[in-house]
């Protein structure tokens, strides 16, 4: 579907010369020279903390560079606010979307720039403007639906439309597919290609290297605030990118799978589980087994995890750990029986960001570092340090956990899980937003736990990850198990076929 270059999109060339930035005396970027060509998709890759986000924020006017210059079409610019950057045609779409959930799609797209008649917002004109814009991009979204009811992928489209409505020629996307299922990610890739074809520049920050190689024309590798190299994507492979990002080669991406004791009784047995978004799920996990839950975002995987863990109201079915029944809807009871959940969203569901790392590690096992409700600081310090060392988080554990990188935050959650022997460990999207180096460390932790005889349930939207880790894969759709694959049947094709079997997955059935 070729899209003609729209008349409104002026082409823009951005150039950075010797750009540097420090925070509180700590340099996070230095000597960056970069040229962004119009009509291209340009990737920024690097570990967390490499400076990708800082760089993109300088381009988008959120930060002002301390050193060097920023040229837009050869003209030097000093943006002091995102608004100024936007006036020059540069828009950024943040990881956390900035939409008003109660307003409709069209209202969000034109927020702050509503077509008016004598000061009143004209609904008719708003709609017409929206339709014209949507046609230009080929997005199919109902303009009247409240944005809050849309899936994340569609909300991202709204963000992109908003940027285009404001005349953006260069769009920066920070991890746009991190929260998306494989299907939605592919849709978004199509959108990015369309944007480039119509003369827009897209700057893409992504941890998914296959995505970067497939989608981008040019790749820039950053490491420790320095630009390592900029090269055509065609000249790079995943291995060369990883080597550039880490400054060393990464062994195989996944650790070898530990053997599963063949005839062991299941440690977790879920029968006919019914809960909000879960419609009759049965599954078993044997000790030492890693079971993967695959499926699209919204298929009900997290809902299953929460229902098993007692964090969501269970309406039917049973959950047994080692033959012992778990009462419905009680997290403390599930914890006592040895289930632990590492939730999907670190910031919203996992960590208390304003508290120190140490306190976040011990949070769900305080009794272990206390006697009779009385905290033992020395014992807590010792235990937290031991576990943090095991999960390879270095540095002062009195710091706020919010100051850590995504990968280290995830490891802190693993530390919490490891503080006590568990029988079943559920990890929901354990590597989302995690850098390449930490990712392998997290895989090692998962495999290590399984090797110790813990039943592991790993939920991931990254099919490769599920394939690389799990002994057995269950595919979830519409709150049900729609496929089970083990051994040679475990292929990307089988999983995706099962996940997509119904062209319109009925999520609220």
């Amino acid at each position: 579907m070729p899209v003609p270059a729209s008349a409104g999109a002026s082409q823009l060339t951005i150039e950075l010369r010797g750009v540097g930035k420090s925070f509180g005396g700590v340099p996070v970027l230095s000597g960056i020279d970069l040229r962004l060509e119009p009509g291209s998709v340009h990737a920024l890759v690097g570990e967390n903390g490499a400076g990708k986000s800082t760089l993109s924020k300088i381009i988008a006017g959120l930060y002002t560079a301390d050193a060097g210059e920023l040229l837009v079409d050869g003209e030097e610019q000093r943006f002091t606010s995102p608004r100024e950057a936007l006036d020059r045609g540069i828009a950024a779409i943040a990881q956390e979307l900035a939409l008003v959930p109660g307003l409709s799609v069209a209202e969000n797209v034109f927020l702050g720039r509503e077509p008016r008649t004598l000061g009143w917002v004209s609904r008719r004109k708003l709609r017409a403007a929206y339709v014209a814009l949507a046609e230009r991009t080929g997005f199919e979204l109902d303009p009247d639906v409240p944005v809050g009811s849309l899936r994340t992928a569609d909300q991202q489209k709204v963000e992109i439309l908003r940027a285009l409505a404001r005349g953006a020629s260069l769009i920066i996307m920070d991890e746009p597919t991190a929260a998306l299922s494989a299907h939605d990610a592919r849709l978004l890739h199509g959108v990015v290609r369309q944007l480039a074809a119509s003369g827009h520049t897209v700057v893409l920050i992504s941890h998914f290297l296959s995505e970067v190689l497939e989608l981008c024309d040019t790749v820039t590798i950053l490491r420790d605030g320095l630009l390592i190299r900029t090269a055509p994507a065609a000249d790079e492979t995943e291995a060369t990118l990883i080597e550039g990002m880490l400054g060393r080669t990464l062994g195989s991406v996944f650790p070898p799978k530990p053997p599963v004791p063949a005839d062991a009784e299941p440690v977790l047995r879920v029968t006919d589980l019914v809960a909000p978004g879960v419609h009759g799920v049965s599954l078993d996990i044997r000790p030492g087994e890693i079971v993967g839950l695959a499926g699209l975002v919204g298929a009900g995987r997290s809902e299953i995890a929460h229902a098993v863990y007692g964090a969501a109201r269970r309406q039917g079915g049973t959950v047994e750990v080692g033959g012992e029944a778990c009462p419905p809807s009680s997290v403390p009871a599930a914890l006592r029986r040895g289930i632990f959940l590492i939730p999907e969203s670190r910031k919203e569901q996992g960590l208390v960001l304003g508290r120190p790392v140490r306190q976040n590690v011990t949070l769900s096992n305080l009794d272990q570092v206390a006697s009779g409700g009385w905290l033992r600081p020395a014992r807590e310090r010792r235990e937290a340090r031991d576990i943090l060392e095991r999960v390879t988080v270095a540095g002062d554990d009195r710091r706020h956990v919010g100051a850590l990188s995504g990968g280290n935050q995830q490891k802190v959650l693993f530390a919490r899980a490891l503080q006590r022997p568990r029988r079943v460990l559920i990890a929901d999207e354990p590597t989302r937003g995690v850098d390449v180096g930490s990712r392998r460390a997290i895989y090692d932790l998962i495999v290590e736990q399984a090797a110790q005889g813990i039943g592991m349930l790993v939920i991931s939207s990254d099919v490769e990850e599920v394939l690389g880790l799990a002994h057995r894969i269950l595919v979830i759709r519409g709150g049900r198990v729609v496929g089970e694959f083990a051994g040679a049947e475990m292929t990307e094709e089988n999983i995706l076929t099962a996940a997509f079997a119904d062209p319109t997955p009925n999520e609220d059935a």
């Binding site: 925070f23 509180g24 005396g25 700590v26 570990e47 967390n48 903390g49 490499a50 420790d224 880490l246 990464l250 062994g251 650790p255 863990y309 964090a311 997290v331 403390p332 599930a334 914890l335 959940l341 939730p343 919203e348 569901q349 996992g350 960590l351 208390v352 960001l353 304003g354 508290r355 306190q359 949070l363 769900s364 305080l366 009794d367 206390a370 409700g373 009385w374 905290l375 390879t392 988080v393 270095a394 540095g395 002062d396 710091r399 706020h400 100051a403 850590l404 990188s405 990968g407 280290n408 919490r416 180096g437 930490s438 990712r439 392998r440 460390a441 997290i442 090692d444 495999v447 290590e448």
Partner: protein
């Protein structure tokens, strides 16, 4: 397991300078407190006298008790606007029982009734704002109207004629008039309660749960913490503290004026003290000792106005400006930390 791989942990914030490691936000209240303290010590010779300091502490004891407990409510992510009303209600309940029963029995029963009333109101606040899912701001606001109404209802039984409830009996007033080691008993009670609450927050698992419940309720719940129970407990403590304060202040005065404005002023002063002390109204952060400094800072300011004979008109204005500064500082330091 493969070693070396993935061990690298890059964190730009890994090496803060000693200057950056000072928790400025936490100790901010210390500086204005000391500044005003020193200024008043120099500016007014009467200020540092044991008479004046003792008076200030004695008069603030009730408010300090309420504020210390309310700090826990705020840290746990709630807010209690009914403390002033509860304070009045418990005083009236206590006074009515004393008047009706009389003697030492009456005094003891009155004290018990006052404390129990406070505790029950606190529990009700907690239950309404957690299990009934009513926003605590609205729940306790509504409760304070209900409680003030109930106060008038109860006081009819305690009044002799049309006056106020008067409990000028030595069997009861010893609570305020005794001076162990030269310091008034209310001051001692406040000190003990403050220390207990501070230690509870600082050194116990309950205290840790309070911070977690306010810092991130969902994360706390998924970590296995009974967030509702924690929040109800903080409301119960706050209600009980209001009861203690009501009883103590009744013994000091020793009458209850029928004036809703007193309840409102207490609530506002307590919240002002907490905020000025640097406890965030968004929950998850704060400390009892900071609230104590915040309340004493405000008390000192008022005392200073009196000693220096400044028109009391300016007291309110000064306090308002200080609250705005405190909240702005809070917002500013949150922004910087991101």
């Amino acid at each position: 397991m493969s070693d070396t791989i993935g061990i690298k942990t890059i964190d730009t914030a890994a090496t803060p300078s000693p200057w950056q490691r000072v928790p400025w936000r936490s100790i901010a209240i210390v500086f204005p407190f000391l500044a005003v303290f020193i200024a008043l010590s120099i500016g007014s010779p009467a200020f540092l006298g044991p008479q004046n300091i003792g008076n200030v502490l004695d008069r603030q004891s009730g408010i300090l008790i309420v504020a210390a407990a309310s700090t826990l409510v705020l840290i746990a992510g709630g807010i209690d606007l009914s403390i002033g009303a509860t304070y009045m209600f418990t005083a009236v309940v206590c006074g009515t029982v004393i008047v009706r029963v009389g003697g030492l029995t009456g005094a003891m029963l009155g004290i018990a009734a006052g404390l129990l009333a406070g505790l029950l109101i606190g529990l009700a606040n907690g239950l309404i704002s957690t299990y009934l899912k009513v926003n605590p701001l609205i729940a306790t606001l509504a409760m304070s109207f209900i409680i003030l109404g109930a106060t008038k209802l109860v006081s009819q039984f305690g009044k002799q004629g049309i006056g106020q409830i008067r409990v000028d009996f030595p069997e009861f007033r010893w609570l305020a008039t005794t001076k162990p080691l030269g310091v008034s008993l209310p001051t001692w009670i406040a000190l003990v309660i403050i220390v207990i609450l501070a230690v509870l927050l600082w050194r116990t698992t309950f205290g840790r749960y309070v911070y977690a419940a306010g810092g991130n309720a969902e994360a706390a719940r998924l970590a296995g913490i009974r967030v509702n129970l924690v929040r109800i407990s903080t409301f119960a403590l706050s209600g009980l503290a209001a009861g203690v304060a009501g009883v103590i202040d009744l013994a000091r005065t020793p009458s209850v004026p029928e004036n809703d404005a007193i309840a409102t002023t207490l609530t506002f002063t307590v919240l002002a003290g907490i905020v000025v002390g640097g406890t965030s109204i968004l929950g998850g952060e704060g400390a009892v000792w900071r609230t104590v400094l915040g309340i004493l800072f405000i008390a000192m300011l008022y005392n200073g106005f009196t000693l220096l004979r400044i028109d009391p008109l300016f007291q309110g204005i000064a306090l308002g400006v200080i609250i705005l500064l405190a909240v702005a500082f809070d917002a500013w330091s949150r922004l910087r930390r991101r």
